[in-house]
Amino acid sequence: MKAPKYADAISSEVQKHAEVVYDRFMDSGFVEFDAFEPFKAGSGANKPKGQIELLGENIINPDPKATPIVRLTIKTKIPAESLP
C-alpha cells in the first residue's frame, strides 16, 4: 500500500500552492476592437466587438529559494461569426 505516501505528497503539494501569493501589479488593460473589419475602424459599428484584456501578476512563492515568476495573462473574446 502506497496510499499514505501519496497522501503526504498530495497534502504537501496542496499546501505549497495554497501559500503562493499573487500580487496584482497591473490594472486590467481592457480594449475592444472591430472583429469584423479589424483594420477599418468604425466599419462594424453595429456588430459585436471583440475584447482583449491584459492582466499582470507577480507570483511570490513561500520558498525563498524558489524562482519567482511574473505572469501576464491575456483574455480574448472574439465573435465567432467574425472568424474565417
Binding site: F33, L54, N61, P64, I74
Partner: protein, 274 residues
Amino acid sequence: MYRHTLRLKNQEVWDQDDLVLGCEVDAKNPSRVDVKQFDKKYDLQAVDKTYKPQGGELIKAEDKIAAADADKKVFKAKQAKINGVDFVETQCVIAIKFDERVKKFADKIFDKFYVAELGLQYFDKKATKAPYSVCAAKQQTEAFLPVPVFKDEFLYKPSAKFFEHGYNMRESELNEVSYRDISWEWKVTKETNKPDQLRVTFFSTFDKKSIATKQKVEQFIEFHPSFDRSKTPKREVIGCEYDDATKTFTPFYKKDVASDFKSADLATVTGYKT
C-alpha cells in the same frame, strides 16, 4: 490556432528594449499552448506572416525570457454565448521566470514602464498565411514589469503600490491630522483619463500668529515609489509651500529622501511658537 500578441514598448528611450510576444492557444488541444518571443522589429499586424516563423523572426534562444505557464490544462479556446451572440473565448498566460539567466537582463527589462499593444491572430492549420489578424490597442494600455520578489520581501515592503495606497488615503484614517491648533488635510484623486497620474490637494488650518518667524508653510506627502522593490526603498516627497508674504504656492518634489519625516518630533519644527 489563436495567437495572442503582445508588444511591450519600453518607455525609457535611453534603454530601449521592447518585448514582442506571441502566446498560442489551440482550439481543441490544451496541451498545445506555446509562447514565442519575436525580434523587436517583427510586425504583429502583418497578415502575410506564416504561422511558422521565418529565419530571424524569433529572438535567439539564449535571449528568450518568456515561456508558457506550467499549468496548461486551463488554456483552451471555448465557445460561449454572451447576450445571444456566439463568442470564442481564449486565455493564455505568459510566464517570466526570474531565474539566474533572466536576472542578467533584469536591469533592462524589469522595473520599467511599457506601452502595451494587444492583438490577436487566427491561423488555419491548412493556410500558409495568417488569414485573420488584429492589433487592438495602441498607446492605450500601460504595463509595468516589476522585479519579482520573494514572500518575505513582499510582507515587509512598505508601499509597493503607491497609486493604490495614495488613492485609498482619501478614504482611510490618514486624510486628516492635527497638532495643537494646526490641522492638515489632504485629498488624493485619480485623473480618470490619466490612470497613471494622481492629483494631490492639500488643506491646512492654522493661526498665523502661531508661526514665529517664517510665514511659509509646507505640506507634503511621503511615499515609496512602486518601482523600488529593494529592501531599502528610497522615499520621495510631493508637497506644496505657501509663502504668506507673496501669497504664492510653490509645489515641490524631492527624490531619494533619506530622512523619515513621520518619526520626527513635531515639537522640534523650527519657527513654531510654543
